[in-house]
Symmetry: C2
Subunit: 149 residues, 2 copies
């Protein structure tokens, strides 16, 4: 298990997101975000040149390796939210994304000695090397010395 | 179809999100965010008093009525992102949320006369009336006079 003390500013962790097929983009959109940009290939082509993924799906796919490969082993009290989350370019079918997680700061809580806040930036590049997604994320994590497991 | 000109600062739209069952919280977490806070009722109870939903799922459920009931009828070029997205309190099983969408500003683009940016705040309250989720969202929308459909 990793705790607040196991992170330090400047650390960079690399991940890779799974490519989204056109079928997966349409299925996700149908459930959560049924806009024609994500469900209608001809319409999307007139605006963006091709079908594009829902930003919600891009966000989930970019975070998925972080959550499934890293955060399951972190003493995480809870994500606090996102700052400056931006979909900077369209994400098209069958594009895997290279994801960088960069630690910005590690701040022990002044009022609660058992925890602190990890701030990190998550950014994702498409196969052309263009940044398609970025966000700054604060997450509340347990400190090691108070672990009683 | 609604265009940029159909929105004005101060407009408030009300929605209601579907409650998440404990089974749905665990199933979503298993796929996207497999932390014990969302998958293990006993563990989650020691930290938060009960199982709590993944913030990703809360976000999707809060936006779902906005996307499926409103944005499908808006000439939407694309969501730009989220600012100050915050999960302010845990969301527990079987809690429907009252969702308010408040229009903050409507700004025609200076460089591209066919579009502009709608900024809105989305906030969600639990059945106790506590705000559990909030975010400021900019979205790029077509202007009416340039519609050629």
């Amino acid at each position: 298990m990793r705790y607040l003390e196991d992170f330090a500013p400047g650390q960079v962790y690399h991940f890779r997101s799974a490519p989204m097929s056109a079928a997966s983009i349409k299925a996700f959109a149908k459930e959560w975000d049924p806009q024609r940009l994500h469900t209608d290939e001809d319409y999307a082509a007139t605006i963006h040149g091709s079908l594009i993924a829902s930003g919600f799906q891009t966000m989930l796919e970019v975070f998925k390796p972080v959550m499934t490969e890293m955060m399951v082993d972190v003493a995480n009290i809870g994500g606090m939210g996102f700052d400056k989350l931006r979909w900077l370019r369209p994400v098209r079918p069958n594009e895997p994304l290279d994801v960088d997680m960069t630690v910005n700061s590690v701040t022990p809580s002044k009022s609660k000695p058992d925890r602190g806040i990890l701030h990190y930036t998550l950014s994702a590049k498409n196969p052309k090397g263009e940044i398609v997604f970025s966000t700054d994320t604060p997450v509340m994590i347990q400190r090691k010395q108070n672990d009683t497991d």
